[in-house]
Symmetry: C2
Subunit: 298 residues, 2 copies
DNA sequence: AGCATGAACTTTATCCATAAAAAACAACTT
DNA sequence: AAGTTGTTTTTTATGGATAAAGTTCATGCT
């Protein structure tokens, strides 16, 4: 049966809004709520119905208003708000990066399905989606081959990344001075220096900033294939570093400094300087990844 | 139910071998046949059983040999030898390129399933696989958006293609003279000039040659992401030109000449000359595609 | 006319079932 | 011991069913 994670997530969000007082007085119309939560009206109605049943919302002659205070255990647990497909993703990435899954291992849809507690269909869809990451390969009628999260993989990934990033940085720097992206870049630079001040405790925030920065660079000259490739990178890094936290603070601190130098270079519009800064940053990112790969490898 | 296309294709192939006299005398063992046909022994046995039933093969005391002559209508029809997934692909590509499918159209899994006569599952798997081509986009819980086979698409595709090809051509030219790829390149050049002589009738053969040529260039410095991207190109071109045959002979003739110039440039190892030849060729490929796109667009 | 709610309908996400194909096991032959 | 064939088990490809979520239609209220 389809999971009701959309409903549960919407419910939790609405409960949050009630608690924050964002929904004081008469509640907005179903359509208005629908728009705010990005779900269908059907789901909004289901949420409202349950809120009323639990007296979190009252309804008198068609007028709805906040009811009793929201309690911590009114919320659905987080696990129930993620769709199956996402669970499969998480399980699989853990299976791949955490366990001793060696290059050359063959992947068995049925076995994974049993292990993750989902239907084979879900596994298969995930694997198809995942195959564009270049880590697995399908052999028809037979199964999938895990090619390994290896040094080769990292090298090939970074070769493309450098190519794309140099191209995008170059095009970024040649935008007219009137482009709004310059403003965004300046803002990002400030965010970087702010984070640097609080690095001791906030170093986790870097990955969000990293993402915003590299996506901003691409924004000046959009290309869907480059964007897609950046999705690959984001995905890989997300999971890889989630389970690989050595030196995180130090790594991020260094990366912030590199970003700042890179931003300065962009603002200078000097092609050679941009190239240097960009390459320096990516080279260090690559070294970091490679080092942690070797740790993974024994 | 799963289709038995693997069996039927294997059957047809075996029938062909019988007809060609490749299986004269005592038939090879099941294992040997298995290896030659790249299917499992289970399938081989099924084929043999049917061949015997139809007396195309005789069996006396465990010895199998060719039986009566193979007739044209011993073969299974071609349509029955392609798996469902492939049918879906063909139908979808036709739907996309042939019909007046406009950018922004939303794609309905259920409707396509009905239209193509398959289960929704198959459609969904195809769409997931196809999504890496950058022509469709998934919106969760809602459906897929067709972004259109547009001019933008072609431009973005070619921007990447040029980047990759320049990189690969450059690295190819810097291989040691002892690399076996130089020999392959020379052979390909001959194949090109041969084809040119027979261009009047054999111009269809160009696409195979084109593929071999560009894949050879990539072989000198393998990168899975570049290979994958070349798969995208191959796929797109395959279907696009399958339905768009204006000027095919002329186009291919021009492309052969460009290839030869490109090969000469590679053999000269002169970076600047390589760059020129490569760019010239890709520019003309792009123009061709763009022109046919405009035809498609009204 | 435009927006709100109610109800009906359609589509997606998900599970389950099963024949075809592959793989593993067993027994036999040379 | 290595290669055959026969048999059994496992896995993949594909169809089908259904609750959840999205969308459309109908009705009523300013």
């Amino acid at each position: 049966m389809r999971t009701d994670t959309v409903y549960k997530k919407a419910f939790n969000r609405t409960a949050n809004m009630l608690r924050d007082g964002q929904l004081a007085g008469e509640l907005p119309s179903e359509n208005e709520l629908r728009r705010r939560m990005c779900v269908s009206r059907t789901t909004v109605r289901k949420v409202l119905q349950e809120l009323i049943r639990r007296q979190l919302v009252t309804e008198h002659s068609g007028i709805r208003a906040a009811g009793r205070a929201v309690d911590d255990n009114d919320y659905y647990p987080d696990a129930e708000t993620t769709p199956r497909a996402k669970h499969v993703e998480q399980h699989f990435m853990e299976w791949m990066l955490r366990r001793d899954t060696r290059p050359g291992t063959s992947i068995n849809e049925l076995e994974l399905a049993r292990q993750f507690g989902v239907a084979t269909n879900g596994i298969r869809e995930f694997l198809i989606r995942f195959s564009r990451f270049g880590l697995i390969e399908k052999r028809p009628n037979t199964g999938w081959l895990f090619k390994g999260f290896t040094e080769d993989f990292a090298l090939e990934l970074f070769e493309i990344r450098v190519m794309f990033e140099l191209r995008s940085a170059h095009l970024f720097s040649r935008q007219p001075g009137t482009s709004p992206l310059w403003g965004k870049l300046a803002a990002l630079k400030i965010a970087h220096t702010e984070l640097l001040k609080r690095i001791e405790i906030r170093y986790h925030d870097f990955s969000g900033l990293d993402n915003r920065f590299h996506r901003l660079i691409n924004e000046a000259s959009p290309n869907r294939f480059i964007d897609d490739f950046y999705d690959v990178i984001t995905f890989i890094f997300h999971y890889h570093y989630q389970w690989n936290k050595q030196d995180e603070k130090q790594r991020n601190q260094a990366a912030i400094l590199e970003h700042v130098a890179y931003i300065d270079a962009l603002e200078s519009r000097d092609p050679e300087r941009i190239k240097q800064a960009c390459q320096a940053h990516l080279a260090s990112a690559r070294t970091t990844l490679m080092r942690s790969l070797i740790g993974l490898d024994q």
